[in-house]
């Protein structure tokens, strides 16, 4: 009963993800849509993201977005009267962790092949 909650960690990632979704993700989507009409522009966009100084923030946005979404789903389950247990906790945040690692590894392979 008196145990300290570890929620600040997930709430922190959730908050950072919220900022990423609000500011960075729409800009990324707009860039992809605009460049999608022109193959030269798309090539330039890929070229831009080949640099480590753009790749690392891009990874940050993608990973934080994942943590944000899975945090929402985890707490959304509670609102849908599904009583969450440690299992739900491990599944949701474990999935966020796996997606982050796979994304990071995939990006590493693409950028630093």
């Amino acid at each position: 009963m008196n145990r300290r909650s570890d929620e600040p960690v997930y709430w922190g990632l959730f908050g950072a993800g919220g900022m990423a979704i609000a500011f960075a993700l729409p800009a990324l989507i707009v860039m992809l849509i605009v460049c999608g009409f022109n193959s030269n522009a798309m090539a330039n966009l890929f070229e831009l993201f080949r640099h480590w100084w753009t790749a690392i923030p891009l990874f940050g946005v993608l990973a934080l977005t994942t943590w944000h979404c899975l945090h929402r789903i985890y707490h959304g389950l509670h609102d849908l009267t599904i009583h969450t247990t440690r299992l739900h906790h491990y599944v949701c945040y474990g999935l966020a962790g796996i997606i982050s690692v796979v994304t990071g590894f995939g990006m590493f392979l693409i950028y630093f092949e």
Partner: protein, 250 residues
């Protein structure tokens, strides 16, 4: 001015005869100024003397007359019949999320127990303990403004009836108690923040809140418990990081 008639469907439950709550219909004449509390007193005086409900001050100060009006938690004294459609029936039920004692009376002891647990009073610092009463605790208007809004709580329990998280998990400390916890923690005269932080940082503390915000919408005193809880989350998260670097303390 001609009197209008409002139709009521009031929840009844007498534990000695009823196995579960049921509804009883009443018709009450009203004028522009008639409050729901006055309507209930009219029913008790003229139609059904056995109807039980709590009330005291008639002016949104005591917090006794909280109940569900058409499914929304409200103070009966602050609810006026003129704001409701006279062609429809007003449905009056006891405050949600609390066990019913009798008719519209609920048992709020769970809330009271949580309120006691968060120590809703000023805990003086060691150096202030033997201060003569004449010295008092000086506070600037700015320092008071920090917590003034959160200190308006009248402990009516309306935010507990509105909270979907409290509905699902009765271990949740809940909106009003967490708001008062935060209110005392940010009071410049108080030195009990360490003790209260332990309660706030549990899973059953601020972290059970998912910021639905209905508590702030229904609060009759505009306390905004949802804001106090979000500020509490921030304070608890900062404390969590500090504890990571200073694990020995506690």
């Amino acid at each position: 001015m001609a009197e209008k008639i409002m139709k009521f469907s009031v929840a009844r439950y007498r534990p000695e005869t009823d196995s579960e709550p049921h509804f009883q219909d009443f018709e009450v004449p009203y004028i522009h100024e008639t409050s729901l509390l006055e309507a209930l007193n009219y029913i008790k005086d003229n139609l059904e003397p056995e109807l039980s409900f709590r009330w005291s001050c008639r002016m949104a100060v005591c917090g006794s007359c909280a109940m569900m009006v058409n499914g929304v938690p409200k103070l009966a004294c602050k609810t006026f019949l003129r704001d409701y459609d006279p062609n429809k029936v007003m449905k009056i039920e006891p405050l949600a999320n609390f066990p019913i004692e009798r008719d519209l009376v609920v048992d709020i002891s769970d809330f009271i127990e949580k309120l006691e647990r968060i120590k809703p009073y000023i805990i003086p610092a060691e150096k202030d303990k033997n201060k003569p009463l004449t010295e008092g605790y000086l506070q600037t208007p700015q320092q008071m403004e920090m917590y003034r809004q959160f200190a308006q709580c009248i402990n009516c329990g309306i935010c507990y009836a509105a909270c979907p998280q409290y509905k699902l998990n009765k271990d949740f400390i809940g909106p009003a108690a967490l708001t008062l916890l935060y209110r005392y923690n940010i009071d410049s005269r108080d030195a009990g923040a360490r003790e209260r932080m332990k309660i706030m940082s549990q899973d059953e503390g601020v972290w059970s809140c998912t910021f639905v915000g209905y508590c702030s919408q229904v609060c009759p005193k505009h306390v905004d418990p949802a804001q106090a809880i979000q500020l509490g989350k921030k304070a608890s998260a900062i404390d969590y990081v500090i504890k990571m670097f200073k694990p020995g303390e506690e």
